[in-house]
Every structure is written in structure tokens, then in C-alpha cells.
């Protein structure tokens, strides 16, 4: 059965007709063309599909689109403002925390949720939050240091 829904994504409102069983991930990718949310394991482990739901990181493969009505959804496409990258995105580039890039949107969004709630996390807190995201290229040292560097920049007022 299809339901008319209004989804709030990256500050915009979208009216759609979605089937009850459709995960938010598929709606974002197939209906809204927001392919920054990646298809990975589709079983709530790898974190490639991470988006923010009311500013908290969730696996969009494990959320029904019909259940996301009235919630604020943020994907990686919503992070840059006026083509200016978010400090986390800049830090990932500067620190070489990206190789193939498949996992990067998920890592960056998870890190954003962390820094929004806790601007000065220590490295073990960063690692704890990033447990739900898997990278198969770089390992995690550069990713953790990029998040810590971005936190420093946000504190210093260089970013948003």
C-alpha cells in the first residue's frame, strides 16, 4: 500500500507517494536522487547509509520512509552551504581520511552529530561513535584524527 508523505530533507520539503515497507535509504536514493546515502550491507551494520534524523545518526536502511514524516532528515548533500564545505568535510580531505569515499558520507554525518552535541570529544568518544561505520580502505586512524582536527577548528570559530 502506498502512502502520501511529506519528508523534510536538508531543509526542503518533499511530497511523495511511498510504499509502507520502503526504507528511507531507497526513497532518498531512488526518489530524491540523494545518492550520498550509500547502499552497503542494508542490515544495520556498515553505516554507509547513515543520515541524521532529528540531528542524530541512524542507519537509513533501518528506518521506514513512512515513519520519517515530521522528522528533520539531513544527508551529506545538506552539509555544504553555498559550496563551502563543512569543516568536517574539509578535515577529511586535508587529513587524507578518504580513499574510495564510499563510507565517507556516513562517517562525516556521524561525526557531525557527535560534534554538535559534544564539541570537544576525546579520541575514545570519537571511536565509540564511529563504531557504527565501517571503512574498508584507510583504517580508522586518519578518520579519527580528521574528526578531532575538525572539532578544533569548529571550536576556534573557523567553521560553523
Amino acid at each position: 500500500m502506498k502512502y502520501p508523505v511529506t519528508l523534510g530533507v536538508n531543509g526542503e520539503s518533499f511530497e511523495l507517494l511511498v510504499e509502507a515497507h520502503k526504507p528511507l535509504l531507497h526513497v532518498l536514493r531512488d526518489d530524491l536522487n540523494l545518492t550520498g546515502a550509500r547502499r552497503g550491507c542494508e542490515s544495520g551494520y556498515c553505516g554507509a547509509c547513515t543520515v541524521l534524523l532529528d540531528r542524530q545518526p541512524v542507519h537509513s536502511c533501518s528506518v521506514l520512509a513512512v515513519a520519517a514524516v515530521g522528522k528533520e532528515i539531513t544527508t551529506i548533500e545538506g552539509l555544504a552551504v553555498n559550496r563551502q564545505l563543512h569543516p568536517l568535510q574539509e578535515a577529511f580531505v586535508a587529513d587524507g581520511a578518504i580513499q574510495c569515499g564510499y563510507c565517507s558520507p556516513g562517517f562525516i554525518l556521524t561525526a557531525k552529530a557527535l560534534l554538535d552535541g559534544e564539541p570537544q570529544p576525546d579520541s575514545s568518544t570519537v571511536r565509540e561513535w564511529l563504531k557504527g561505520n565501517i571503512c574498508r580502505c584507510t583504517g580508522y586512524a586518519k578518520i579519527v584524527s580528521a574528526v578531532l582536527n575538525a572539532a578544533g577548528k569548529v571550536r576556534a570559530g573557523e567553521g560553523r
Binding site: 542494508e42 544495520g44 541512524v58 528506518v63 557504527g132 561505520n133
Partner: protein
């Protein structure tokens, strides 16, 4: 498949009552949606509880103990000042579940009702002597937590019933309690999860009472009664703890899956039970971590 979001508990219970086996409750969706996508469940009606904000309350009073609404997320339990103060073992148990992502949406009630092997809250709540409230249009019944888990991924919840609340009695709060989890990667379910709550007698070495909950090892979580019996009323020592752990390992009914073999689970149950009991004895749960 139909999707409904009842606006009240009464409405939710009526919906469940009307749909019987065809209806399925959706809480945080962190287990159910995976099963749905894999085609393991095909309900005609999905009954979402997300509008029932009454079911997310966490309350404490000295007479009633700790009460958690079934829709309380794992993240809310992990970070709740009330839970951290009165039942730190449960807050810590929640913090060990999967990842932050899963804990943001996954609920305590949903976790219990799926009864997936390796779930962390069941053994913790068994050791805490918790009860659950099961509501339906027929009324409300209170069930001891150990009776909830009736078999492999099966529970005593009837199709028209809704698990609404988890209660931890005052007598279970404030004592020595430990939950230890053994898994390969920290986001995995427990290969072995052992929860111990114990009370020492005035002499500081005799075990006045204890409860042990075990998860991950067998098809369903259970209370390790034989191990408890060996220690209850006895002096705690390395020897008595080892003896109790050996009995628990001998008596378990371990499963084999992708995470570990039955033989490995049995061995690790002995190790982790020894560590959890030692941690409870020393009053230092964290020190018992591997």
C-alpha cells in the same frame, strides 16, 4: 502491507486485537526492519508505536523501583541520569549494544520482544529480577522476565498483547551488579553475556543471595540456577566461583552460528561467568572486563 500509527495505547491495543497474527508491532525497527527486508516476516499490518510518547518514560521511586517504558531507546537508558544512579549495570549494558546508530532508535521493549540470540538486555534484566507488563484489550498481566523468553526468538507475548513497561524492583537496585559481554567485534551480538547481581552477608565474604542471567550461549536467555545454588549461602572464594562457573558451563545448551561454535561458547561461558562473579564479589564490575 499497511502501516498504522495509533495515537493512543487504547487505539494500539484495539488495532492489535483486530489484526491478530496478521499484525506486527514496530517499535524502533532495528531488528524488525531487517527481518522485513529479508522476507523473514510478512505482516499485513505494521503497527508503529512511535506516537505513544507515554511509553518512553523512565521513572524511579523507592517503593516501585525503576520503571522503563517499552519504547525507551537504548541510548536514552544509557544516558539517563536516573538509570545511571539507580541501576548503573543496566545503563552500561545498554551502552554495549551494537552502535550509537542502532541505540538511537532501538528500544528496550523491541529488544525483549524479538529475543534475538546474543541480545544484551535479557541476561541483565534476568539478574535484576525484572518484570514486564503485557497489555491487551483483555487487561494487563505482569510477567517475570525469565518467563518472557520461551524459546529461540520466541516470547510469551501473545499476538494481541503489547509489552508496555519493564519494572526493576527496589530490592534489585543499589547492590553489586555486573554485566560482561564477550563478542568478536564490539558491534556484534554477545557470544556470551553474563549478568550477576549479588548480595554479601555482613561478614563480607558470604554470598547472601545472587541472581545470574545468561544470554548469547543457548537458544534463549536463562537464569543460571545451578550456579546460583552452589554459591548461595556459601563463602565466596576463587574455588567456589570456579566450581559454580564449571557447573554453568557443563549445564548450558550452546548454539553454533556464524559468530562462534557451541564448544567455544561453552568454554567462554565458564571464563566470563568466573570473571563476572569475581567482579561482583570485589564490587568492581569494570575491573572484571577483559
Amino acid at each position: 502491507m499497511q502501516y498504522v500509527e495509533p495515537g493512543s495505547l487504547t487505539e494500539a491495543l484495539q488495532t492489535l486485537s483486530q489484526n491478530g497474527e496478521e499484525g506486527k508491532v514496530l517499535a524502533g525497527g532495528q531488528s524488525l526492519l531487517l527481518m522485513l527486508h529479508l522476507g523473514l516476516v510478512r505482516p499485513a499490518v505494521l503497527v508503529s508505536l512511535q506516537r505513544l510518547s507515554d511509553l518512553t518514560a523512565i521513572a524511579y521511586d523507592p517503593k516501585g523501583g525503576l520503571r522503563l517504558g517499552a519504547m525507551t531507546t537504548q541510548r536514552a537508558i544509557e544516558t539517563s541520569p536516573l538509570v545511571r544512579q539507580h541501576c548503573p549495570m543496566l545503563a552500561r549494558t545498554s551502552s554495549l549494544i551494537a552502535s550509537v546508530h542502532v541505540r538511537m532508535l532501538g528500544t528496550l521493549g523491541g529488544n525483549l520482544c524479538h529475543n534475538l540470540p546474543g541480545a544484551d538486555p535479557p541476561p541483565a534484566l534476568i539478574a535484576l529480577d525484572a518484570t514486564v507488563l503485557l497489555a491487551s484489550t483483555r487487561g494487563v498481566r505482569e510477567l517475570a522476565i525469565a518467563e518472557l523468553f520461551s524459546g529461540f526468538m520466541e516470547t510469551a507475548v501473545r499476538p494481541d498483547e503489547l509489552l508496555t513497561e519493564i519494572r526493576i524492583p527496589p530490592a534489585s537496585l543499589g547492590g553489586r551488579a555486573v554485566y560482561l559481554k564477550h563478542c568478536v567485534r564490539s558491534v556484534d551480538p554477545a557470544l556470551v553475556g553474563v549478568a550477576v547481581r549479588l548480595k554479601l552477608a555482613g561478614d563480607g565474604v558470604t554470598c547472601a543471595d545472587l541472581r545470574i542471567g545468561v544470554g548469547g550461549v543457548s537458544p534463549t536467555p536463562y537464569r543460571a540456577g545451578s550456579a546460583e545454588k552452589i554459591l548461595r549461602g556459601q563463602r565466596l572464594s576463587r574455588d567456589s566461583i570456579s566450581a559454580a562457573s564449571a557447573v554453568a558451563a557443563a549445564e548450558c545448551d550452546p548454539i553454533t552460528d556464524a559468530h562462534g561454535s557451541a564448544r567455544y561458547r561453552r568454554k567462554m561461558l565458564e571464563v566470563f561467568m568466573r570473571r563476572a562473579l569475581t567482579g561482583g564479589w570485589n564490587g568492581d564490575g569494570a575491573a572484571a572486563l577483559c
